[in-house]
Symmetry: D3
Subunit: 317 residues, 6 copies
């Protein structure tokens, strides 16, 4: 892929929040909180790193899975990184994501309901179905913000922070959220909806400025929106209205924790301008790592090192 846009950093989104955006999420989260969190932790992998199988009550009180990993022999609360997977992936197997535990942190890696059959596997159902949709998850329930798939997932993402904090060896004052692509979009959502996070680290975030994404992306799940609208031509306005409720550009404007973004200028799945759209709106202290010759893989281990540095500084006593 060549560069996908001439000057992506100059782009500013004109997206505006629907009037009831904040009320919508306040009501949604209030409704979720009516279900007890019921976070349960079962150790399943006990080696130099220990991994616990996690179940907590997400949207609708439905059980959501996660892993919680930390160094063996930990005896006092650790800072914790809550991570969300990229599109199509799940939490995988207990030994698949060991970076943060090996680095000395606690790490909660949330499953994404219904996903986890595209690459890294998942274990969490999405017990909801409904109106005709394009294959994939983007358009599941897309005609109404209340039915939309990401309403449920974002609620799960917020509850995942609570679940992490419920673990005895996690220091609830030092929790960061992160993720790549879809995971980055969810991190932005959590950044807006969880008031007291220590840091937000979205990498090449998806779910930002959906219309632009659907117009420009040549790969990845923004294409699902375009494909749906190529059939349901009459629903254009309605679809983008629904999607605005899960738009990272709007969440960014409501997040205040220190943030480390990353963007890749040859990204065909998440056009760089859509990432900058969220970055420019981000309301807290912020920095962005730029990868001019990378595609959607972004900074990978180099960015992981940057994240660890950022977290070390953030979590330092």
């Amino acid at each position: 892929m060549p560069i996908t846009e001439p000057n992506p950093a100059e782009y500013r989104s004109t997206l505006r929040a629907p009037e009831d955006f904040d009320a919508f999420w306040a009501a949604t989260l209030a409704q979720a909180r009516e279900f007890p969190l019921d976070a349960r932790f079962t150790p399943v992998w006990r080696r130099a790193v220990e991994v616990h199988d996690v179940t907590f009550a997400g949207f609708g009180g439905q059980p959501v899975k996660a892993w919680l990993a930390l160094p063996a022999g930990t005896d006092r609360p650790l800072p914790c990184v809550v991570e969300y997977p990229g599109y199509g992936g799940g939490r995988g197997l207990p030994h698949e994501c060991l970076l943060y535990a090996a680095a000395g942190y606690a790490h909660l890696f949330m499953d994404v309901r219904g996903q986890g059959s595209g690459w890294r596997h998942g274990d969490t159902p999405d017990p909801a179905g409904g109106a005709p949709q394009h294959p994939g998850f983007m358009t599941r329930g897309v005609l109404d913000p209340h039915d939309h798939y990401y309403r449920r997932v974002i609620t799960d993402a917020v509850r995942a922070v609570a679940a992490a904090r419920a673990f005895p060896l996690v220091d609830p004052a030092r929790v960061a959220v992160t993720g790549e692509s879809q995971g980055g979009g969810l991190a932005l959502a959590a950044g807006a909806l969880v008031p007291d996070l220590a840091a937000v680290l979205p990498d090449v975030p998806f779910l930002c400025d959906h219309r632009r994404g659907a117009e420009l992306a040549t790969a990845g799940p923004y294409r699902e929106v375009a494909a749906y609208l190529a059939v349901h031509r009459e629903h254009e306005r309605q679809v983008f209205r629904t999607l605005s409720y899960c738009d990272g550009v709007l969440f960014a404007a409501r997040a205040t924790a220190p943030a480390l973004f990353s963007v890749a200028h040859m990204d065909a799945s998440c056009p760089p301008s859509t990432v900058y759209a969220a970055y420019h709106r981000y309301a807290g202290p912020k920095r962005i790592e730029v990868y001019p010759f990378n595609g959607h893989e972004g900074g990978q281990a180099v960015q992981a090192a940057a994240r660890l540095d950022f977290l070390d500084a953030t979590f330092a006593p």
Copy 2:
């Protein structure tokens, strides 16, 4: 595409029905019949052909949409063709499928729940969700035959015949089922589960010999099964057990109405041997049209002419 298999007509499937196959479907259909059919017909397009919007209670009593088209001015019961869409498509708009009505028959064109956002659009929800799945519909609920997506769709397909028969201007003794690809697979299912059909006309049917399809197809929805198993490696046996409950090879062995099949030898989505697998097992009188240089589009208008000829002969008083 070149020819996809050297001698597809010689292939014989070794697929065997699970012991409770017939009981499973008897119970499923009995359960569906507990809901009144409640078929409603509303005229929406009144021209030289008239099209009625149809709603009937499918699986779980859930409303399923269809169109019923017939020549304007019809005054006595007509033979009826019940048709099912190909994968990803829905019933479309009222004026999209006019062949059978223009040919002088009644035509019920069923929507497929949840689909209809991939190409021709649909209006029927699938109010069920669940375990992690690969994007698409093939693996929705694939770990248990009772949860599997096609249990619901096949039940709808059987009920669609009843809905057609409920229309005053349809002669219930002269109903045929047809469809291309997924529609052909559903026609085979209806052929097995509806005892008194006049004809079964499956074109390049999908949903036949799923393992072989998943191993050989280079395009189309059999790939979803392969993709799911590439992640959920542990579920191989379970997945193919579930899929056997909706396998056209097994339905074919239970169908007895006269049948007209078609097969395309350069078909990358439904490898021709999988079509022959069903054809060889078909228990009624049968014939197959062979298209040696076609891909999954099969015989198109040429096959449509063959179908009309076959129907004329079948329906002739």
Copy 3:
């Protein structure tokens, strides 16, 4: 495909007509009229819709095939829709295009000489050959406007309207022309060259602003022009001069019947700006349906519904 051009609606073509453009067509049509039209109609499909096989004398008096379909039992003249196929397709089989007859209109569907082996099949020869050409039809005789393939096809298109009017059950005062892609380009040509049409309905028209098409299209027959010029580098000026004689932008400026256009913003075969180029020049009352998330398939059944609405209003007594 993402959107193919940032702001296609703002584009204005600078194409100018060759000085003898009108004389060229006047002479060409006069020459065609020297051959008696000799339109013959043979019923071949008699059901709820009746279809007649049509032969008429096109360019050079050569026989051109068509279907004429109308509701069975019609007893007084109907408005008629004359339709032209997309590139590579022919008139198909008698039962392939039943929309307009089912809707209560007469419908003449012209074959395109030489084509009809790429998808829907055709029956009309192009008894002309000649200078080296790129495979396909775009560059057949492209070095001289008099030899060019589309001179013959456009003449056929004009004559097709006369053939439709020659059918006893067609009301000659109420004839519209339509078509998708190439068919849309031919509708524009007929719109300019037939003075008394009731409506012109070009969908995602091809044959508009050829140089821009050849520069920007990433698929479809404009690529043939680019491919030809990649070999015959010395003929650039000559080729575009020839092509200007069949350019929809120039025809649009000469057409005055009410028009309904459509354009798709993700169209890789007919870049949307080339469609707007013709639309902006159109000399009659006009409207354009915009499909922002569609490719070259355009509006399909949704646009068909729009066309029927437009025709109903146009043809209403």
Copy 4:
């Protein structure tokens, strides 16, 4: 491309000549001979190699172009290589093919009527047109052997040998024919239809065992046949009957001059078994160079060296 067939050298074609095959060609050539050859030679490039523009009367007496190149200052008759272009290419510019002249031979490089706009450019029209065809040349007139495009081209190819012999500095007793792909197929045809050639050198020849080619090729012009039959399903038998009149397998069985073939085992356009099909039937002394890791490009300069060695031995006094 990987190897395209497991053991291509073991394949034997079952193709049989139509009963009138020899009569057909005898009549065709007799008819061509009724037109005087009228070979004209005009020097156009006079340097260390001299190139003459050639025109001779081909099929129907229609003018066919060629280049005749030879070393400057030649003063006694030279052996001559008559070469035919690959599909889509023409004779190009005078300085494009200098190998044989630089090697000290005369070289006549025939244009292929109608082609020469796909890559190397051409100057010879095909003043025939007609029935609907798939873009390209394979199916031009394919419903009748008398109308088929290759009847004209093969006649031209035979006449090209006569044209070469008409040049004063060509030794008519020492003429070889060669070509790659389509050129190789034409060389086989000339080998069968010109009785006194010194050698036949077909490289990765096309036009051999058409049905197998249409079934197995994944690229190249055999696909045109498959594509045509995917639309004109009813013409399968007729098409392959016509194509048998230009099949290299049948020509090979009628050729007796010493032959040097070449074949490439990863050839996606001319499946190697189709080449072996012709090779095994070849009636004269023969040898084949095998390129196990090449695609349709075959042996290129390595094969050129082999051809020069073979010609040196053949033409040695």
Copy 5:
């Protein structure tokens, strides 16, 4: 990708070792041992897992890099897993591969000279070829076994085991070798050339039965061999002779430690039969995990779990 070969497990390779195969490697390793190993370990990442930067003298005494990771606070020798990267990748950053250390083992992850610019980055030059560069290694020096790139890499791989054993906290009696793709091929080589390994775990190994790989692979580095021979047609025999010196089929026949293989039946880069070719020849106790619906990614985390189980059993006191 569909399955790439019908019955890959039945394939047996006919590859035979060159007469001096064992002498060649004995001499090569003896020559390498003339350079002191000079393994140096520098801690660079000290967290819950500790990672040491490793340098040791590989082929020609040239410095080769690696990481050695183990749980922080280890105080007695651990079993060790020596791992080799897949083609084009290097050792990456210190925190990129933490599985084995998190699982409680020592882990030496060798860099592959010259590689590490295709995906995971590398730091080891190939001083016969220069600093790390973008891929193209298969044919570096391929005309002579002594010059061939893999002679150097395999020597490095053998020396890497010695380097691991030189680390104070590694138990030299309990060392296993593993890797995916190229890493699996190198593990087989080490399995043959290091006499006292505890286990050999090659996953979807590359470098096995090179001719079959070059003939059948449709992706990956076997294609480089085919591409080279498509140009250097004259070197076919010589190239495969050279490659036989680094062929895993021959190494397998010389390895005796317990082995756990894996193979994927839809693998386009390492055709499954080439993996079975090595497996069938393997001289020690062996088992193979089969992934019928996976491509070259093979078993991923599922296979990692299988490897950990196998290692636990192997290393258990």
Copy 6:
């Protein structure tokens, strides 16, 4: 490919030469001149054109191969065209490039070290990297201008002119340099570094404005730079600094011989603006042929004719 950039001719590069650019090359060439040129010529193909195998001492005194071709029987010094191959190709076989000799000139066709396994084959090792190998040269030694692959190749290119002049039948006062793609980039380098050339003829030159090339090219070797930087993210500045030493934009500003450029507007490998970048900076009299509908193949034989015309005019006494 459509046009790759809207207005490429308007682009101006901002690339600036590193301060020591001229000193770097002066030192490099001085160092090369310390080795005697030792040009040796062995006739290997004696026909109407004679071809000599050439060896001369290039960078580091290392032997570089070439062909020198000229008309047989030449008896007085001829003007000479020195040509450099495109990326991945070598000098080929003696009879592969006969144009200039057939046109009456001497022609030295240099091999490019290490290349010549991608298409036309080569015979010159790069002893910093080994015998010819499959592509991957752009980043060989890219971290230091002194180690970089193109420092060696450009030195060879300069020495090739000296080698041509050492041939008795070459007129040293009349030497031109040319080449396509990489060959065009090398011609620009020679144009700057050899003071007394008669002409410089770069066609669709590669190696111009590397950063823009790496950002915009969708094919070809500029992609190697982007791919390298996608892994070695930390070396961005260093890589482009190294590449600036072999940038045709900077060489163009130092060349004064009359020049004939060519550019293709649909070139995906060498974006046209990068060619114009060099053209606009070119310091001598210049002209550029524009091919608006060609890709990287550029003008081919048409441009060859233009080159011959230009050379005739240049070399005329």
